[in-house]
Symmetry: C2
Subunit: 344 residues, 2 copies
């Protein structure tokens, strides 16, 4: 005896368009027309169909629509880790740009692993996303281009511009310069730097900015004052400890990002060194939480919300066939709060 083999879903809902049509005594085509606006339909039938839709609680099957139309109204978004506040803000910007457009983000995480990133991107493609937003990560431009063969791609943290792929980076070198310059302006000359993971271009650029500011101010570069972190709090703790143990005096620290600064601050606190009274500290990113650390953290702001918003807006245009362009390039800015102070 053959029994309904449909899986667990639908125990209580979701009629099909055909069922609606039958209930209303019209053809499926008519229902479809009413659903999608457009064509004129007689008032009588329209009323009947709308009644049937309501009665059956009908919702069109988006999968079927996508299959038929060849567009899924979905953008794939590759973050590196959903738990990073840094990405969270970007996601918010994407969400904002997509609101009301009918598009929805399908989010995946690459965990800073090129293989995993490529794998996730492939899955996203298999799900027929109409476009891809790649947030940072370690994919090469070639790989990005390969994906752009299938759908338009917008990437942040990469440099790349082709008809179907657009990438942009913030000026991290300038950011590093701004941070260091701020410390210099405050009279500091012995400025330590805790770098990010130097496998990332951003970390390298920030370091370059630090060196440029120093050079410009005539302060010799002392490599003993530069230690490597990893963009995470524990890295900041360890780096600060190494700095302190090295015995080379310094009055300020430029941390490659806010999380590193948090860690460094904690390490200083443990040794009874106060911020900013004894040592000035500046971060990079301006995470939302940096406004509420005690004291609030001076930092270089990365406008991640805007980055997300602009990326999504650009992609929206690209899927409409317009050329790949950016409305504006988001800019870094110095946010002076209370962890830095004038020397003496």
């Amino acid at each position: 005896m053959k029994t309904k083999s449909k899986p667990a879903r639908d125990a209580g809902g979701s009629a099909t368009l055909l069922e609606v049509a039958r209930a209303a005594g019209v053809s499926a085509a008519t229902v479809s027309r009413i659903l999608n606006g457009g064509a004129r339909v007689s008032e009588a039938k329209r009323a009947a169909v709308e009644a049937a839709i309501a009665a059956l609680n009908f919702k069109p099957n988006a999968l079927a629509q996508s299959l038929k139309r060849g567009r899924s109204l979905t953008f794939g978004v590759l973050t590196q880790s959903v738990d990073s506040p840094f990405f969270a803000e970007t996601l918010l910007g994407i969400e904002a740009a997509l609101a009301g457009t009918g598009y929805e983000p399908l989010i995946a995480s690459g965990h800073w692993n090129p293989q995993e990133e490529a794998d996730r991107l492939r899955r996203l493609l298999a799900r027929q996303v109409d476009g891809l937003i790649v947030l940072f990560g370690k994919l090469s431009n070639d790989e990005l281009q390969r994906f752009a063969l299938h759908v338009p791609v917008v990437a942040t943290g990469h440099e790349l511009r082709s008809p179907r792929a657009l990438a942009f980076r913030l000026d991290n070198e300038l950011g590093g310069y701004m941070a260091t310059r701020h410390l210099l302006d405050l009279g500091h000359r012995d400025i330590a730097h805790i770098t990010g993971d130097l496998a990332h271009a951003d970390a390298v650029d920030r370091l370059a900015g630090y060196r440029r500011a120093l050079a410009e101010a005539g302060v010799p570069y002392d490599e003993r004052l530069v230690v490597q972190g990893n963009f995470k709090e524990p890295g900041g703790v360890m780096a600060a400890n190494r700095l302190l143990d090295a015995g080379v005096p310094f009055t300020a620290i430029f941390a490659a990002n806010d999380q590193t600064a948090y860690g460094a601050h904690l390490a200083l606190y443990r040794r009874g060194i106060r911020v900013p009274d004894d040592i000035s500290l500046i971060g990079f990113d301006d995470l939302p939480s940096s406004l509420y650390t005690t004291p609030p953290l001076t930092t270089v702001r990365q406008p991640m919300f805007d980055v997300g918003r602009l990326a999504a807006q650009a992609l929206l245009r690209m899927v409409e066939g317009e050329p790949a362009t950016l409305d504006e390039l988001p800019e870094l800015s110095l946010v002076v709060r209370e962890t830095t102070r004038r020397l003496r």
Copy 2:
């Protein structure tokens, strides 16, 4: 002259299964069989098909597969805001539970707005998700049940158990009790409480726990020591200021969540009041960042990663037709760090 009207996608890729079949000189069914394991196929044809797949760089269209199979291998996940570290951790747990199962999360945000939540859930359903995970929010049990008519539902922060819906809450009353009790054990008797948004059951429960601990210790409840916050940093700042301005002395604060504690800490700092030297402070949640505040925050840990993981695992079972059960109920725990200290 009629021209290809397919949209921008596919400028360079994605062959169809039928094309693969033709290239390999077999039928579509054979290709499908090879793709899905199962049936036996001659080595010759298998080789030909695999060659064709590679040559054409073929990836099955997941939309078509889902439509045909009646399962999308997608779970809808309703968070309230992607930018909250609290939800981020839960998402991580869900991601972990889903890894390797073939299921992927489709994430939407409800922003603590019942209308918006319901709307998002409907869209998720339209996309044919196979199950729903609802993380907190303000939907009523009735509404959740209604969604459970269509697909299995697992919800956190609700209480509800039916064949196709499972919900669980952590014991927030106990959490509030634990926090207050910790302060009491340290010798504090004048303990202030900054509540969360009292429209949330969690906030009410934590307050109840606070009162119970007080009562149990024979400390009279003083309503002047209880002010309302909103689970966010600014609320913590304002609440702490109100507490301070009221002039009723206290030696410790129990903040309804970590973000509130951050805000309160900042307000104290601004007035030169040190934590924990002058005032002890305890939060609730144990956000990842609480490990790196200066000093690290004593708090009541909510195992959100586990919450996400357990929810996803339960849902996984439910879509397989198994009854709605939870492996275990995650428990709150006291995490003593450095913002609380013995009185005197």
